[in-house]
Amino acid sequence: MATKASAGVTGETGGDGVPSGVRRRDFLNVAAVSFAGVGTVAALAPLIVQMSPSADVLALSTTEVDISKIQPGQGIKTQWRKQPIFIRNLTPKEIAEANAVSLSDLRDPQSLADRTKPGKANWLITLGVCTHLGCVPLGIGEGENKGPYGGYFCPCHGSMYDTAARIRQGPAPKNLEVPEYKFTSPTTVQIGS
């Protein structure tokens, strides 16, 4: 719309004195709106980041657990970042059962060795959060229903996990998640990093 004629009328010219299609006012409009836009986005940032986990929540990101009292075949339920953690001392039979499964039969193929630390295949440490919709599966406590695969059974929608806490049947898409952890001593585990 900004023709040579109109540029001539308003006396607006390009830098080299030749009338151009872009008026000085157009430039000012674009510059002002862009500046305000960037400013608005910058002002939104604190409103958005305030919702991310705060420092006190992140401060809980490591938990030390004493595992010396857990006998083979037993497990404990503890908490890390407010989520349940299952720590289980597998029996040789449970380890053998987990290793007997062919990976191609699994929905989320992982071997027991992938899910434990080298030389510590009996220590299975996972989140106690069903990967379907976040319920806490049964099977860690004494006498709880471990499901047909001897691991965990989620009562909400019937997901069944094996002795390596891998999904075997039911709606859950993934194995129970293995958090980051390390052995700080033979009897102590630090969960989180």
Partner: protein, 424 residues
């Protein structure tokens, strides 16, 4: 905005004249809900549910504001502030709490009847598409707000409801889990989540009220639809809103509130879950977790995907659940039949009732514990739901032979007398 025969506002008292020239609020009320707003004379009782929804929004805002004066939004204090302080110690606290709790359920009952009224009588059709879409926005806001309100007592169902519903987001690949953590402000529901849900639960009702104003504004451009679906032609077809419909709405609201009072006083926990009287325990999930009844059909759609097909089953479930509502936004273009009212659409009417039964089945499946039979039933019903809106409705509107429409609203009401009355 209104029909040409609408009575204009004429202030009599000098004070009202003075006000009218400066801030014409009485004029607005007179033209919107007073004698200055002509309404089709043949509205049946299903048309009372819009006003009734407004009544329940008001009840929820009023009881909610006073409950917030006593509620403590901390993970340690929330459960006791509801179940000890408000239910036992605060004067009339039990009444306010039960009124608010059941008010939510009744708000949904009313809104569901209102929505199905719209579906049957074609209220989503031109020129009222925006009225329909704004209504859906209100419905979505209501769902979000009901969910957050249910979390506030911090009982077992509150906690695990929050866990499961925010878990929907984790179904999306890559971005899902960070979004979930961002929404919760932590890795599991806790203090941060509770406080922000409280803050938003207080905010959203006012957002809803604002969208309600837009909904009514958009409605008042063409005016209300009516059971025949025939446009208003002249003054004989209408009656002024006041006193005719204020009286009818008042009478009907009072009757309906009687049922609400019956439940609130005599069966206040009938629509809730006993598990929510157990304090939230992040380490143990209730054996049978279900949402409140008004979410059951959607919960059934969510759960009906059990097989991975290109995408994980869980993601299919979440997508299907969201689409089941979003597709309603496209209804004005899915059903193109020029006849609005289901009364004159014999084929549509049959499929409409099948769809109602289908939604009831979904509701039953969503609320009941999982079994092989119910999963299969839910899958069938979920498939039919989409089939109805995406295939059956467009085909029916294309091939159906509709019944002859009455010439006018007054003729449909008064028969020959209506036409005679014109002469007189």
């Amino acid at each position: 905005m209104s029909f040409s025969w609408a009575k204009p506002y004429e202030p009599k008292h000098p004070a009202m004249k003075w006000l009218d020239q400066r801030l014409p609020i009485p004029r607005l009320v007179y033209g919107a809900t007073g004698p200055g707003y002509p309404v089709p004379r043949n509205l049946n009782y299903f048309w009372n549910f819009g006003v009734l929804a407004g009544v329940f929004l008001t009840i929820q805002i009023v009881t909610g504001i006073v409950l917030a004066m006593h509620y403590v939004s901390t993970a340690d204090g929330a459960f006791n502030s509801v179940n000890q302080l408000i239910m036992r110690d605060v004067n009339a606290g039990w009444l306010l709490r039960y009124a608010h709790m059941n008010g939510a359920s009744f708000f949904f009952i009313v809104v569901y009847i209102h929505i199905f009224r719209g579906l049957y009588y074609g209220s989503y059709k031109p020129p009222r598409e925006l009225v329909w879409m704004l209504g859906l926005v209100i419905y979505l806001l209501m769902m979000a707000n009901a969910f957050m309100g249910y979390v506030l007592p911090w009982g077992q169902m509150s906690y695990w409801g929050a866990q499961v519903i925010t878990g929907f987001f984790s179904a999306f690949p890559l971005v899902g889990e960070p979004i979930r953590v961002w929404l919760l402000g932590g890795y599991a529901p806790d203090q941060a989540a509770l406080t922000r849900f409280f803050s938003l639960h207080y905010l959203l009702p006012f957002v809803i009220a604002a969208v309600v104003i837009l909904h009514i504004w958009a409605l008042h451009i063409p005016g209300s639809g009516n059971p025949t679906g025939v446009d208003v032609k002249d003054e004989k077809d209408t009656l002024p809103f006041h006193p005719y419909f204020t009286a009818k709405d008042g009478w009907f609201s009072a009757s309906f509130l009687l049922i609400y009072a019956l439940v609130t006083f005599y069966a206040p926990n009938y629509l809730g879950h006993p598990d929510n009287y157990i304090p939230a325990n992040p380490l143990a999930t209730p054996a049978h977790i279900v949402p409140e009844w008004y979410f059951w059909p959607f919960y059934a759609i969510l759960r009906s995907f059990t097989l991975d097909f290109i995408l994980p089953a869980k993601l299919w479930g979440v997508l299907a659940m969201f689409s089941s509502i979003l597709l309603l936004f496209f209804l004005p273009w899915l059903d193109k039949s020029p006849v609005r009212s289901g009364t004159y659409r014999p084929l549509f009417k049959r499929f409409f009732w099948l769809m109602v039964i289908d939604v009831l089945i979904l509701g039953y499946v969503g609320g009941a514990p999982i079994s092989a039979f119910r999963t299969a039933l839910g899958q069938f019903a979920a498939a039919y739901y989409f089939l109805h809106f995406l295939v059956i409705l467009p085909l029916v509107s294309k091939f159906e032979t509709t019944l002859p429409l009455p010439n006018s609203i007054s003729e449909s009401v008064l028969g020959e007398r209506g036409t005679m009355a014109t002469a007189g």
